[in-house]
Amino acid sequence: MSDLVRLSAAELASALAAGDVSSVEVTRAHLDRIGAVDSAVHAFLHVDPVGALAQAAAADARRADDDDFPELLGVPVAVKDILTTKGLPTTAGSRILDGWAPPYDATVVTRLRKGGQPILGKTNMDEFAMGSSTEHSAFGPSHNPWDLDRIPGGSGGGSAAAVSAFEAPLAIGTDTGGSIRQPGAVTGTVGVKPTYGGVSRYGLIALASSLDQAGPVARTVLDAALLHDVIGGHDPLDSTSIDTQWPSMAAAARAGDVAGLRVGVVKELGGEGYQVGVQARFEETLTLLVDAGAELVEVSCPHFELALAAYYLILPSEASSNLAKFDAMRYGMRVAPEGVALPSAEEVMRATREAGFGDEVKRRIILGTFALSSGYYDAYYGQAQKVRTLISRDFEAAFAQADVLVSPTAPTTAFRIGEKVDDPLAMYLNDIATIPANLAGVPGMSLPSGLAREDGLPTGFQILAPALQDARLYAVGAALEAMLVDRWGGPLLDMAPELTVED
């Protein structure tokens, strides 16, 4: 493996700035790594070597011509396949979009291009981001680089696996109920869900519009912050984008400090239902925070116990509406029903959606159609929206007592591929600790907290901050990461097994 792929994005940026290496060399090293390991990991649905190398050459030329360039100029990135990329396949992990190449870029992608970051390819995901394992991808699951028989989390398992397997230094994820943070936890990487409205959703194929947020996936807190600074900020093309001046996340990470910080431990997110080794690493991490001068406060958020139920009404309701656009008329797959001579548009629509959607998408569309149907609306969707208000109130009360809230990111380490794929409720429980942040719109980060003693697999530590206080996540996360890396004697990923490399 080339040493270049082991470097963090910040280290690559320094090497590029010093002229020690070119973006073409860095990009080629990552493409080579993808060629060597991705048949085993399957992090990517599409790799774009020609485009990436051309963008890298352009970045090198720009650096030679101009003294004023973005910090990550020339540092390559992988993009989750739910964000549109002009001329590059975009499937959202679904058969129904197989072969589609969008005519426009998502704003996140536009910002990466403006920043001169070569796009290596599109990463695998659960179909339309519905899932916690990538097993619901129509194109086969991704594999966890720590143990190829296990899931890399989901829905953004491809992005997390790509950075964890050193196929990309950075990736973009999206998080509707934990799809950035939970994959981060189970692959030993860092993932951040920004404040709702912090990163534009323009060009993000909507799952649940009131919950979806794109964010950075990286191996270090500083790298995530650098990428957040590139993709974040107001976008007039997204009416829910917040029009404010954000502070530099990278500056917050570099200043990282926890002295005097009030850390709220959420009583309802931990203990029963959480794997022993996950809970143990969480508690050890709390001790580190205390040793560094933070103060622990126990906080209670009683309505979090209903968050999962509310989420699995709100999300399917929004999804059933958002996915109505896959109607076989303007783009994507069109399938004619069998044995019908002159099928109507509606018959074509039904046959196409039958053939184009997987089980989990069908389950959620039907569930959403149910929750919104007359007679059930008040008892299900209406009541879920009220629970959502109560969850936001729980957050307000908790943040009156604490600067940040913390919990384990996911209740377990990575489970085996196939273990939960046909048990929807067991699958949904993976997101129990991450969902409340989406319902309330607050930002959250997962960073590695160690390996569970019983299985040697990564565990994640979740930090939540009040809305708009994303910088606080980076300040706390970077300080904590420094203490953990010091304890481990190096980054956690140094302990991951070497992947077998194909020539």
Binding site: A101, P102, P103, Y196, G197, S210, P236, S239, T240, I242, H303, L306, A309, A310, S320, A324, A328, M329, R330, Y331, G332, R334, L342, P343, S344, A345, E346, V348, M349, R350, A351, R353, E354, D359, K362, R363, I365, I366, L367, T369, F370, G375, Y376, D378, A379, Y380, Q383, A384, Q385, K386, V387, R388, T389, L390, P424, L425, N438, G441, V442, A467
Partner: protein, 110 residues
């Protein structure tokens, strides 16, 4: 067919095989018999589980559709560049004369 009921009735067991078929038709998804056998019991379990939202007394709680306050956003009504017709139609299953070509929408007698 399971019809709409009061919330109290709805929480009992609204998801039958027939109801899943009806909902799938509303959502414009054909389901095979095998899929119905597979999905209907799973959906019944999920609905039973999410019905927990009814356990909280929330008559005086306002619903939230969004996490953060939203207000309508206006922009100037001015001409902006748009995609060329061939770019828009490139992903279409069928097109003719710079238009999306779709299956018949009306009944044959119409």
């Amino acid at each position: 067919m399971t019809g709409p009921g009061s919330p109290a009735q709805a929480v009992t067991s609204p998801i039958t095989r027939d109801e899943v078929l009806r909902l799938a038709q509303l959502a414009r998804i054909d389901l095979t018999d095998a899929e119905l056998d597979h999905l209907a019991p799973q959906l019944a379990v999920i609905v039973e589980s999410v019905a927990a939202v009814s356990s909280v007394a929330a008559d005086d709680v306002p619903p939230s559709s969004h996490a953060l306050p939203l207000q309508n956003v206006f922009r100037e009504d001015e001409t902006r560049p748009s995609l060329a017709p061939e770019e828009v139609l490139r992903g279409a299953p069928e097109s003719e004369q710079q238009r999306f070509s779709v299956p018949r929408i009306l009944g044959e007698d119409a």
